[in-house]
Amino acid sequence: MPKRVFITGIGIISSIGNTVNETLDSLLSGRTGIGGITLFPTIHQGKFPLAEVKLPTSALLEMTGHAGERCYTRTALLGMIAAAEAVRSAGIHDIRQYRTGLLSATTVGGMERSEDFYREFLTDAGKGRLRDVMNHDCADSTDRIARHVGVKDFVSTISTACSSSANTLMTGAEMIRSGKLDRVIAGGTDAATRFTLNGFNTLMILDKGGCRPFDENRAGLTLGEGAAFLVLESEELVKREHKAILAELTGYGNANDAYHQTASSPDGAGAVMAMSLALSMSRLKPQDISYINVHGTGTQNNDLSEGVAIEQVFGDHVPPFSSTKAFTGHTLGAAGAVEAVLAVLAIRHGLVYPNLRFETPMKELHIRPETTLQKGLDIRHVLSNSFGFGGNNSTLILSKA
């Protein structure tokens, strides 16, 4: 019997709120974070929507006590804000009292600054401010988050595209189970960048009108930005400190589709494996799952492949499911943790979230997402999918504790 790992704190900042409470309020009132592009100049302005955090970087600097400083990227700042909220929510006063690690995920790191550097550097190798490229790599934001919340015992970063932060929760839980650490702050952060906007546009999978997950007429994803962190703690720590438990991480699975670098297999083989591994680890049957927070990006390929996989795993017992990406946009490296925080809120408040903008069921599937907010339910187990480029498929199961 593997050791139990509990979630005792959550923190989130995204286009639908700067705190857990604001996020919950947006979810309850059906308020999407998707809007226009205001953060940076791009030829795609007015062409594609974006789910931006509704604060300029200068405000994020102020919130973290670094007003006017130049070395913090938006990715780092979003992560610092969410991780600090998670630490507060877990009631941690002295973080050094227990062996604590920080595992963060990001897909672009400090790209939102380095792309400005490169714009000048590429025209003239003598140009470009070096301080704008010093934070380019993925470790920069993680190290700054660790310093912000005072973590020293272990720090690392995972990047597996859109499944990245689901994997930080898995590795974090394994580090606790194997006795290396007592506590891990796990999650992810990604700021919106011209790089990702242009990159996804080369794949022609951005929906001009905003994403419509699991809709027959879906035309792609909508990019978002944000950060979310969860505090994972060992059973011993939780008992010794009489900690309030928000949820338990009972299962997870990581499998590779091994099919194509960007496309998911038509039969969703990797997704089926990830979900099955998570179910078997948590010793649950498909009918035990109360709600599925699907990856549901709104691309033709993902939603079909994921839908087929869900039908295969759950058969006649497909529970209520929805994609929350029509609220938050696709927050890439943060998405797995963003959705894990939403899963905790679903358990705590008895909710199933609506899949916004859904109109027409997909003709290949028998299932359709929930379109209205369901309240007052007994949500015992939430299965959360995060699938990434490279066939990196990860599933988490969060349970009422």
């Binding site: 272990f154 995972i158 990047s159 242009n198 990581n254 590779n256 083989a269 990196n392």
Partner: protein, 350 residues
């Protein structure tokens, strides 16, 4: 804990037939990898679309699997500090250009997990797959995860590697920042060159870890740990002692050190102190004249340590101090990046 049962390495030296009699000398801005013979492992049509980094990754992974006699690893875990720099630069050059003939390949290949996932696609491997991207903890994290996969009973074997590439643009930027030497340097006489900055490099090294030893086993892995500093500083004596002690050893038990000297006059002193303080009787070796400096260069150090344990000899080209003739039993690999990211690997002969 686990055993290293196979290794695949791509570096500036031809290591395909063991350790070369004489090392190839380069007088360069960065130490480049010899192009790998990837045709054994990658179909030529697929290879044409792949970036150089991906070809290096798949080839070194397949070399490691062939070396271990393992066809299908039960986990694939890559550490890379920067991922595909070349493809990232391509998209940066083309973006917001209004170019309507969009090529998706640079974006697809720029994502950090492309190496792990291309290895999975090449092998049709559906097992656990992950990628760590934390400067000079990237390979260390991947290796630690692989040990954990085996230790926690989730896999009987795991493929873990460290890989990074250098580009002219990245070389130029990090030279301006002051990480690299300002003038070309020789890899052979690197440690006599007392100038600031490291000799930059690139490389790939993948390892097959197994729960059990096999006919191809190099050594036993006793442990790994990472130590982060907010500002440049060496490891403390107590940290080193407690790393060894928790695995049942004392400093005197270490008879061979593999150290990450990179020719940087500002930071190489950290290795002098490490070797002098606690390990004055251990034989001392180095490896960055084979690989140069990069975020995952410690994987080359691990290779050298494992290679020396398996073959029972210390090539004179890597010897810094002590006796090459006495076979080593217990190796400590120590690497650090600019005094901020320190890692230790402890290996034992079987």
């Amino acid at each position: 804990m686990a055993y290293i049962n196979g290794i695949g390495v791509i570096s500036s030296q031809d290591l395909s037939r063991g350790f070369p009699e004489t090392l190839q000398e380069y007088r360069v801005d960065f130490l480049p990898c010899l192009p790998p013979d990837y045709k054994r492992f990658i179909n030529p049509i697929a290879a044409r679309r792949m970036s150089r980094l991906i070809r290096m990754g798949i080839t070194s992974a397949r070399l490691a699997l062939a070396d271990a006699g393992v066809e299908m690893p039960e986990a694939i875990i890559t550490g890379t500090g920067l991922g595909s720099v070349e493809e990232t630069e391509k998209l940066l050059m083309d973006m917001d250009s209004g170019n309507t003939l969009l090529n998706p390949t640079p974006f697809i290949q720029s994502t950090y997990n492309t190496i792990s996932s291309q290895i999975a696609i090449n092998l049709k491997c559906h097992h656990y797959n992950s990628t760590y991207v934390h400067r000079s903890f990237s390979f260390e994290s991947a290796f630690m995860d692989a040990l954990m996969q085996i230790g926690e009973g989730m896999a009987d074997n795991a493929l873990a590697g460290g890989i990074d590439e250098m580009t002219m643009m990245h070389l130029d930027i990090m030279r301006k920042v002051g990480h690299w030497k300002q003038a070309p340097a020789s890899n052979i006489t690197l440690l006599q060159d007392s100038t600031p900055g490291a000799l930059a490099g690139e490389g790939a090294a993948f390892f097959v870890l197994g729960k059990e030893p096999s006919a191809s086993t190099y050594c036993k892995v006793e442990g790994i740990d990472m130590f982060h500093r907010d500002s440049p500083e060496g490891l403390g004596e107590q940290e080193i002692r407690s790393f060894l002690q928790s695995r049942g050893y004392r400093p005197d038990d270490i008879d061979l050190l593999v150290l990450g000297y990179n020719g940087d006059s500002c930071f190489d002193g950290i290795y002098d102190r490490f070797a002098g303080d606690l390990f004055s009787s251990a034989t001392t070796t180095w490896f960055k004249h084979l690989s140069g400096e990069y975020y995952t260069a410690s994987a080359m150090g691990l290779w050298l340590g494992a290679f020396m344990l398996k073959n029972g000899r210390i090539p004179s080209a890597v010897l810094l101090r002590g006796d090459a003739a006495t076979p080593a039993h217990r190796v400590l690999v120590y690497n650090q990046y600019r005094g901020e990211y320190h890692s230790l690997f402890l290996l034992s002969a079987i």
